[in-house]
């Protein structure tokens, strides 16, 4: 049986791991490779690196650190940030990333998803979605969320985009629920359930993890394949071995340490 994945997310800016609350006020968390190896040793199943400075600054991800991580890490990792064409994706994958995640560039030019799927297979292509509930009650996407001053709202319903992204060749969806991101009150189960119902590829929940029970809830109630979290791990509030013991004890299939 496929294990539910625990995925620490490391936001990368200028070659360092940073973390902000509600996408603002970034604080330095440490060296990329050092943190990656610490999480690997603790039992992380996968890592995601979001180069949050890449898209707002209009440049692509720095491949130097991808290669440094790949040389040392023996669990899978995904790189996101500023990948907007097949050549850049190839360079990042060749530097050692297992998957690439695209967000703003996919919304700007949806054909990119198909081009990447064609070149590398759907299994390498993750579509990241930043989603927010608007006053009319609909969930809609946001782009360029790495920099609050440049964030855009392209008037696309999240649920429509989830369907479209899969049709074009997304092999995995990471749904970041911005209303709950960084505040540690639990994942947005309602939104994740709605997306799960439309998502036949793996779905990863992001935004809101604050304690072990939040992970159990999102696996059980929203049936997601993986749960991504940042500050709850970076702060040391929740350790992965403790989280996995908790989940195992409650009958959630997780990878053995």
């Amino acid at each position: 049986m496929l294990a539910r994945r625990i995925i620490p997310c490391l936001d990368v800016r200028d070659g360092r791991v940073v973390k902000g609350v509600r996408f603002r006020d970034h604080v330095d968390m440490g060296d990329i490779v050092e943190l990656a190896l610490r999480y690997r040793d603790e039992g992380a199943d996968e890592l995601v690196f979001y180069d949050i400075s890449a898209t707002p600054q209009g440049r692509s991800v720095d491949r130097g650190w991808v290669e440094r991580v790949s040389a040392q890490l023996d669990i899978p990792f995904c790189v996101a940030g500023g990948i907007r064409d097949v050549d850049t994706a190839r360079a990042v994958l060749h530097a050692g990333a297992d998957k690439i995640s695209i967000n703003s560039p996919a919304l700007e030019r949806p054909a990119l998803i198909g081009e990447l799927a064609e070149a590398f297979g759907v299994q390498c292509v993750v579509v990241g979605i930043d989603s927010l509930r608007e006053p009319d009650g609909e969930w809609r996407v946001r782009t360029h969320t790495g920099d609050p001053d440049r964030m855009r709202a392209p008037k696309v319903r999240t649920l429509d985009w989830v369907v479209e992204a899969q049709r074009l060749g997304a092999g995995e969806i990471v749904l970041n629920c911005m209303d709950s991101d960084g505040v540690r009150r639990g994942y947005d189960i309602e939104q994740l359930r709605a997306v799960r119902a439309l998502c036949s590829v793996p779905l990863v929940a992001s935004g809101g993890a604050g304690e072990a029970a939040h992970f159990e809830a999102v696996f059980r109630e929203a049936d997601v394949d993986g749960a991504l979290a940042a500050s709850v791990f970076h702060s040391g509030k929740l350790r992965i071995p403790e989280l996995k013991r908790y989940l195992r004890g409650r009958g959630v299939e997780v990878r053995d340490d």
């Binding site: 049986m1 294990a3 690997r40 023996d74 669990i75 899978p76 793996p202």
Partner: protein
């Protein structure tokens, strides 16, 4: 030091496989010419791509007969393992035919997502030096939408909707559907066994 050649057929996980071998103290040579591959002590055929893309590239490079004629241990990884079989349903692709059998699409279903992505358990089917040190139930990291049927050459299987071949071996021809380069301890063990195994 054994001469390990990584076949460069454009597969995107070349880098990570190279690093995994380096972590075991082996410096593999990247090669896409027949002579270098024939001279190797060990040949690894990685592949993150589609079956048709990698087969097309092998044909372009004139490597199909080279790979078919190898006597030294050959390890196919992920798509590289699928290519060892006769045929893949992915784009209706004729493969290397080193192992009898077919590669078929995994079907999505209730609670079953395709691609099969993540850590799943290996079920050893028979003892083999390639699986030395595997206890049964070891987790390995998979990312794939197609899989080979369980045949007589399958030495470990995994289940995702249906039982499929996770590790295969027939003489010098070996394959892993999972990614040893990203499967932590279990992956390193498989690669180390491959470097040790007698053809």
């Amino acid at each position: 030091m054994r001469r390990v050649v990584l076949v460069d057929a454009g597969g995107a996980n070349l880098g990570s496989v190279r690093y995994a071998l380096r972590r075991l103290g082996v410096e593999p040579v990247l090669a896409c010419d027949a002579e270098a591959i024939r001279l190797a002590d060990r040949v690894v055929l990685p592949g993150v791509s589609t079956a048709a893309t990698v087969m097309g590239r092998l044909r372009e490079l004139g490597l199909v007969e080279t790979l078919r004629g190898l006597r030294q241990p050959l390890l196919g990884v992920c798509v590289g393992m699928q290519l060892l079989f006769e045929h893949s349903e992915e784009d209706d692709t004729a493969c290397l035919g080193l192992l009898p059998g077919r590669v078929r699409r995994l079907r999505a279903g209730e609670g079953l997502r395709v691609p099969h992505m993540g850590w799943n358990r290996l079920r050893p089917l028979r003892g083999d030096p390639l699986l030395a040190g595997f206890a049964g139930g070891d987790h390995a990291y998979f990312v794939h939408g197609y899989a080979a049927d369980v045949t007589a050459d399958c030495i470990a299987s995994t289940s995702h909707g249906r039982e499929f071949a996770a590790v295969v071996r027939r003489g010098n021809v070996m394959g892993a559907q999972f990614h040893p380069e990203r499967s932590a301890g279990a992956g390193a063990r498989l690669l180390a066994n491959f470097l040790q195994v007698d053809p």
